[in-house]
């Protein structure tokens, strides 16, 4: 077993076990802890496939941001010492059925697609080298420049970049989404702030 597959196995097991523990445990903060294990292992899997940027974003956004906010919210709102979620047997059965259906769908999708053939067909349809060879100049996880230039519309893998040809750029949609989030943030702060009485 090579080192890569060894680490892959380790982190996959950790991610799955963490996910199962999130579902099984009843304390919300323990769920958050298991979610760290699961999401952190997912980030490690991203690092393993040389997607450093995605892995770091996973850590920063989900583990460092969302989970801290989750625990913070639990600490602010819970009335008892340890917040528990009690699920009724009906809910458990329903959730298990939905989860199993989703698992079945994922497995069916995984086994039902001829991945090699699809890759070949994509390459044939684009008429370019769709393999990772073009992007491989950023080896060892150094994908940052490639991502940045793709965001600006420079796609060497689609050809024509040397002539300065621009493909679809995602910078503007990205900025619009971020402004949208900012507006939501300001709105939430406005709604949540303490209202001043007019006569005061």
């Amino acid at each position: 077993m090579s080192g890569e597959s060894l680490f892959f196995t380790l982190f996959t097991i950790a991610a799955c076990m963490g996910a199962i523990a999130v579902v099984v445990s009843q304390s919300v903060v323990r769920m958050a802890f298991w979610l760290i294990i699961s999401l952190g292992s997912t980030a490690a899997l991203f690092f393993l496939i040389d997607a450093d940027f995605v892995g770091a974003a996973q850590l920063l956004i989900y583990v460092g941001g969302t989970l801290v906010l989750l625990v913070f919210a639990v600490m602010l709102t819970s009335s008892g010492p340890y917040l528990k979620i009690d699920t009724s047997p009906g809910e458990t059965v329903l959730a298990a059925m939905v989860g199993l259906l989703f698992l079945f769908m994922v497995i069916a999708a995984q086994t039902g697609v001829d991945w090699d053939g699809t890759n070949e067909r994509i390459a044939a349809a684009n008429g370019q080298d769709a393999s990772a060879a073009v992007f491989d100049s950023g080896s060892g996880g150094n994908t940052l420049r490639t991502i940045g230039m793709s965001l600006l519309g420079l796609r060497p893998d689609l050809g024509g970049a040397s002539a300065g040809e621009l493909h679809t750029a995602y910078l503007l949609p990205f900025e619009i989404v971020s402004i949208h989030l900012l507006v939501v943030l300001v709105g939430a702060a406005y709604l949540a702030r303490a209202k001043r009485r007019r006569d005061a």
């Binding site: 080192g3 304390s27 903060v29 323990r30 958050a32 802890f33 760290i36 952190g40 450093d52 940027f53 892995g55 770091a56 974003a57 850590l59 920063l60 583990v63 460092g64 941001g65 989970l67 801290v68 906010l69 625990v71 913070f72 639990v74 600490m75 602010l76 010492p81 340890y82 073009v134 992007f135 100049s137 950023g138 080896s139 060892g140 996880g141 150094n142 994908t143 940052l144 420049r145 490639t146 940045g148 230039m149 600006l152 420079l154 060497p156 050809g159 970049a161 040397s162």
Partner: protein, 455 residues
């Protein structure tokens, strides 16, 4: 492992170490394992020596500030081994867990703190090319990993089943959620000047003299350094921002219920992350492992190009310079802790939300507009001193994969001759005006590298 030419292409220290092991007769495939183990051992040594030294330093400095001697007995006159004695004492203490606590989270929390501040050292370069993982988005990974540390603190506060701990944890959560924003923005300001998130590249760009440090790149980076330092102090929950501990009101804050080694893990993490944030500050603003003396920097890069043992000598000198800069940063944090009174939690949040975030946003905008202002004022010159692209080209002599050569060679030659003052560029030849376009130099970095990739 011989010949200077090889070293020029080696941005990854692990790569060179693996090659060395291979040449030493290690069987195929195992050289990477060996290199990984050596790196882990080295990093772990650094990580554990940081608290060892800084705790001693903290006690000595605190003693001096309070007009007493500090530790004097253990290990000679200066109490060098006081931290070791403390460690032995802490190992012997009973590992307590309150009966009402959530024992699993209570036991796991110190490890989260310790591991996340340890993991930050993986992407922190200590000298040119001396880094365990030379990631292209190193700074981003670093910020992401260091943001995990707060989670351990919050879990510790929550799971202790103590009101003091809970308040400490909540304060820490509120503080960190606010202070992460100015921290990231202030770290971005030198990045705008550098055009790279790779900490190794950022350090290399500042070689050749103190005027090349990003601290003096423009007025905005100069102010940003001080804002970054304040925010970094707060993000290590050091006084005057140590509201999570606040022993005057919360007994011990989040670590009230902890004892023995688990308690000390929090402080190992704290002191190690103090070193880490000061190391990042030194790389981003203070030239990293470059001495800042033009003659010495040139001599060191000659030494590096000499190859063999000289390369390692230059590396060791770089580590020493880097460590001195970072330790001075930690010293200032210690100094602040014992001289500045703790501020209230509402003042902490006010300082961040009403002052630091607007200041850092303003600095960020200013840093972006600065090259354009200089360009219109100084006939196409976008930096005070020599263009950054030329410095990158000088710092990276080979053409390693993924790191493009930035500027054409003639501009590098020209800027080598150019003096540091910006005024002297006003009588540059028209050729220079053509080569510096309206876009700042880092934009041309990306454009040129595209054509490199597509070739």
């Amino acid at each position: 492992m011989s010949g200077g030419q090889d070293h020029m292409f080696l941005t990854l220290a692990s790569q060179s170490l693996a090659e060395f092991l291979q040449s030493a007769g290690v069987p195929e495939g195992w050289q990477y394992v060996g290199a990984a183990i050596i790196h882990m051992a080295l990093l772990f040594a650094v990580f554990s020596l940081c608290p060892f030294f800084f705790i001693w330093m903290e006690r000595k400095v605190a003693g001096r500030i309070q007009d007493r001697l500090g530790p004097t007995r253990v290990g000679g006159r200066f109490g060098w081994l006081q931290s070791l004695a403390d460690g032995i004492k802490l190992i012997q203490k009973e590992d307590l867990c309150p009966p009402a606590a959530d024992s699993m989270l209570f036991r796991a929390a110190p490890y989260i703190v310790c591991m996340s501040s340890f993991a930050a050292f993986v992407v922190l370069p200590f000298s040119e090319g001396w880094v365990a993982v030379a990631a292209d988005c190193g700074l981003f990974i670093m910020l992401a990993i260091m943001s995990l540390e707060v989670f351990g603190i919050i879990l510790a506060g929550y799971s202790s089943a103590s009101k003091w701990s809970l308040f400490g944890g909540m304060r820490e959560a509120a503080q960190m959620v606010s202070y992460e924003i100015p921290l990231s923005i202030c770290a971005l300001i030198p990045i705008v000047a550098a055009g790279s998130l790779n900490l190794g590249e950022i350090g290399d760009m500042q070689s050749g003299g103190i005027h090349n440090w990003f601290l003096f790149h423009d007025p905005f980076t100069f102010i940003a350094f001080f804002v970054y330092f304040v925010v970094a102090t707060a993000s290590c929950k050091r006084a005057p921002f140590d509201l999570a501990e606040a022993e005057s009101e919360l007994v011990g804050g989040f670590h009230t219920e902890y004892s023995g080694m688990r308690w000390s893990f929090f402080f190992m993490g704290e002191y190690a992350s103090m070193f880490a944030v000061c190391g990042v500050a030194s790389i981003l603003f203070l030239g990293g492992w470059n001495t800042g003396l033009p003659g010495v920097d040139g001599a060191l890069s000659d030494l590096r190009a000499g190859g063999g043992p000289l390369y390692y000598l230059a590396g060791v000198i770089g580590v020493a310079v880097f460590a001195v800069k970072a330790v001075i940063g930690v010293f200032i944090q210690v100094w602040l802790r014992w001289t500045v009174p703790r501020i209230r939690i509402d003042q902490v949040i006010t300082v961040c939300l009403k002052y630091l975030i607007p200041i850092s946003c303003f600095l960020f905008l200013g840093a972006i507009v600065w090259p354009l202002i200089l360009h219109s004022g100084l006939k196409g010159q976008t930096t005070w001193n020599e263009p950054l692209g030329a410095r990158v080209a000088a710092a990276i002599p080979g053409e390693p994969p993924g790191i493009p050569i930035v500027e054409p060679a003639e501009e590098a030659d020209e800027s080598d001759a150019a003096p540091a003052e910006a005024d002297s560029h006003s009588d540059d030849s028209p050729h220079a005006d053509e080569s510096a376009s309206v876009i700042p130099p880092d934009a041309s970095v990306t454009l040129n590298s595209t054509s490199e990739v597509s070739r």
